[in-house]
Symmetry: C2
Subunit: 119 residues, 2 copies
């Protein structure tokens, strides 16, 4: 129960983190390899403060890990977090598809019953 609650909390954070285009650009950059905060900020039309805030949201969601070395902040992607999203979507897809299967069976039964009647 507690685990389910924690997982839900995590998924909220993941969806929220990826809902901003700027944060998706950062994830996209980090998918190609680690980067410093300044490297992340460089192509973005944002202040370093704004980028730092986005980074914080990405870290809360578990998607990004960062650490400071001297005055430089190094960031890397934790792709494992994305698998939570994949799992959630796949779970809903399974429900959806089993529903389509049931519909198909009903149609088959209906057709079979129709043939019987016509005989």
């Amino acid at each position: 129960m507690i685990l389910k609650y924690m997982l839900q909390y995590l998924i909220d954070d993941l969806f929220h983190a990826l809902a901003a285009p700027g944060r998706r650009v950062m994830v996209e950059r980090l998918a190609k390899g680690p980067a410093t905060l300044s490297e992340l900020a460089e192509p973005m039309d944002m202040t370093l403060t704004a980028v730092t805030q986005h980074l914080r949201i990405l870290e809360t969601s578990g998607l990004v890990h960062s650490y400071k070395q001297g005055r430089t902040r190094h960031c890397r992607l934790r792709f494992e977090a994305m698998d939570q999203l994949n799992r959630w979507i796949a779970g809903r897809k399974a429900l959806w598809e089993s529903r389509l299967d049931r519909l198909g069976e009903l149609l088959d039964e209906d057709e079979a019953a129709g043939k019987k009647r016509r005989r």
Copy 2:
């Protein structure tokens, strides 16, 4: 370019729509089959107004379609919208994995070079 902008807009909406646990419960319910607005609202600890607002956000994202028949609002899931998310995640995963492949190649080259040196 316009298409890319539209797609980005769509993905923003999708991630945003799924970031609220209440909206995910509604998606989960609709994955099992169509439902009326009252059926959607029933298991939720929310006013009908709040549920209607959530429905509007789900409709904007393209995840849900609804129509009114008399006084009843019927809702159904449009699972196709979820595939946009899958595609986005899969795209990032491809970047990430090609990066891991490159790292693997570098390690192999390094090892081969090391063996040469040791001969």
